[in-house]
């Protein structure tokens, strides 16, 4: 049982922008809300923007971390649901990067009445190759290697043995230091997030979508190929796909102008909200 202010501090929620329309920006795996900073100047005059870190990422409250809850994407979706409820947000446009698109979809199905539309930047419902009809881009062995590689990087990046020494992987005392270094979050939480992200298959969720969705893809993305964008568009009602003339997986950081233009162009296509 958390109070509203518990949720807001737990998820390091920040609110900015001067517009009427609420836009909730959800960061992807490996990062935190700072990844939106290139896009913020282009959006904040037009939106009331809600930013947050998932529990286990960025400057969230590591004490609130629960390994089991955050071992599937539903746990992360619950963060979004609790934030929307705590702030009593209505008519929200959910904008997620990469895995947060699917997390947003999970959340939108639980609280459809609060959601107006979704914007998905470089999304993928499943990163695994499941022949013959689906090419997520990665074999199971690749993703096992990812876990291994993350381990090896965390030896250098974070206090790899600290959770063992301290005995409590969620101890708040060293999480503060870790949150200072961008993208190098707690090794325990990051690996759990990686497993939830890369070993899951949420394709069955797509046909259940109930909101207008804008899919933004890049021409070439090592994590989400054009095939995936087309697959999502074909299987998700009310979705439209826009391919941005750019390459890479972090369009909102490398091409914020083009992403912002697409968001602005998407709005008038939505039916007006009932006020």
């Amino acid at each position: 049982m958390l109070t509203n202010s518990d949720v807001l501090s737990r998820n390091n929620v920040t609110i900015t922008g001067t517009g009427e329309q609420v836009l909730l920006l959800a960061h992807g795996f490996g990062c935190n809300q700072q990844m939106w900073r290139f896009l913020l100047p282009l959006l904040s005059p037009h939106f009331r923007i809600v930013l947050f870190d998932y529990v286990g990422s960025g400057a969230s409250d590591m004490q609130a971390y629960n390994k089991q809850r955050y071992s599937t994407l539903d746990g992360y979706a619950l963060d979004i649901i609790e934030i929307c409820t705590a702030l009593n947000l209505e008519n929200v446009i959910l904008c997620g990067h990469s895995v947060s698109s699917i997390i947003g979809l999970l959340a939108a199905q639980k609280i459809p009445q609060r959601i107006r539309a979704q914007i998905m930047i470089c999304p993928s419902p499943c990163f695994l190759n499941l022949p013959p009809h689906y090419q997520g881009g990665f074999a199971e062995a690749d993703l096992q290697e990812l876990m291994d590689l993350m381990d090896k990087n965390y030896i250098g990046w974070a206090q790899y043995l600290a959770p063992l020494v301290i005995g409590d992987p969620d101890a708040g005392q060293y999480s503060a230091e870790l949150s200072d270094s961008f993208c190098s979050t707690n090794p325990v939480t990051a690996k759990n997030f990686a497993k939830a992200t890369f070993f899951s298959d949420y394709r069955s969720l797509l046909p259940l979508n109930q909101h207008p969705v804008l899919l933004l893809q890049s021409e070439r993305d090592a994590l989400a190929s054009l095939f995936i964008g087309e697959y999502m568009q074909a299987h998700m009602p009310q979705s439209e796909l826009k391919v941005i003339e750019a390459k890479g997986h972090c369009l909102h950081m490398t091409h914020p102008r083009q992403v912002a233009d697409q968001i602005h162009a998407f709005l008038p296509r939505l039916t007006p909200t009932m006020e």
Binding site: F138, L149, F182
Partner: protein
């Protein structure tokens, strides 16, 4: 530039790429030797990496470079032309200009990777052991429920939470009636079976947030936050009925329950009150409950 002091002579991979897709613009011979490649037009750094390394590149390295402008000591794996895998250590920084560029230095990390693998294995083994020990230290061996120590720490958390939400908590202390007789008449194996099965019965009937434990020989405790719809006394009543209606090992088992409900008592105070109420229930003839609200009635 001094012809001796060029990137070509250094025993590390040096390369310059574009920012947005890491297309290799220049690289020294050492880099091509390391990844067993020959220079090609429009070759990207990710072309020589394993799929897992591409994920690390897109999820960690690029966001870091875009946000901070540099990254240090990132381990990636290069996949050579012949399929051979080479662990490497990568440093990079971004140079902004008309066309932003990334300057990379890539070093072999074969030896370091071996050491890291040993550390990873060791840590995983230790972690598993620690988890097992932690579980063991909280569990009552016979019933599989929480033990007394774990109960006290969970109960204290619950009381704190209840205090914050200005809610009352109830402490149910259950004791099996005439347990010594069960042991004496039917043997200790039977007594143990009674404890185990009663534990399971309580577990299946507790609500999600209730904390249940075996805290003594034949003594069980439940602590719960009160809800207006479901009073602790009614819950205890239900337990009394369930226990007495289901013979265990062919024996009719009954329990006595003390139910102390309070808003602002400490764990010790609440425990003590529940204990007194349990004593009253025993004294009044067993197979019953005595409930009281504190401090209203003190």
């Amino acid at each position: 530039m001094d012809p001796v002091f060029t990137p070509d002579v250094f025993p590390c991979g040096c390369l310059v790429t574009t920012l947005s897709e890491q297309v290799i613009l220049r690289a020294n011979p050492y880099f091509y030797q390391e990844c067993q490649q020959t220079p090609k037009a429009q070759q990207r750094l990710s072309d020589v990496l394993t799929p897992a390394s591409k994920i690390v590149l897109e999820s960690f390295v690029m966001p870091m470079l875009l946000n901070l402008g540099h990254c240090e000591e990132i381990q990636l794996t290069i996949q050579g032309n012949s399929g051979e895998r080479l662990p490497v250590l990568v440093n990079a920084h971004v140079q902004h200009g008309d066309e932003p560029l990334i300057f990379w230095v890539i070093n072999s990390a074969k030896q370091r990777d071996k050491l890291y693998q040993e550390l990873v294995d060791l840590r995983n083994a230790l972690e598993e052991k620690a988890e097992r020990l932690e579980l063991l230290s909280q569990t009552d061996e016979l019933t599989g429920l929480l033990n007394r120590r774990a109960f006290i720490s969970r109960a204290q958390l619950l009381l704190k939470q209840a205090d914050r939400h200005q809610q009352t908590c109830s402490f149910l202390l259950l004791d099996i009636d005439h347990f010594k007789q069960i042991n004496d008449l039917h043997g200790h194996a039977c007594g143990d079976a009674v404890l185990r099965q009663l534990g399971q019965l309580l577990l299946t009937n507790c609500r999600e947030h209730d904390v249940l434990a075996r805290i003594g020989g034949e003594e069980f405790a439940i602590i719960c936050m009160d809800s207006p719809s479901d009073s602790a006394a009614a819950f205890a009543e239900k337990l009394l009925m369930l226990v007495s209606q289901q013979p265990i090992e062919g024996i009719t088992v009954t329990v006595s329950i003390g139910v102390a409900t309070a808003g602002q008592l400490s764990f010790e105070q609440l425990y003590k009150q529940a204990d007194l109420l349990l004593y009253e229930a025993k004294h009044a003839g067993r197979n019953r409950l005595v409930a009281a609200l504190y401090p209203a009635e003190i």
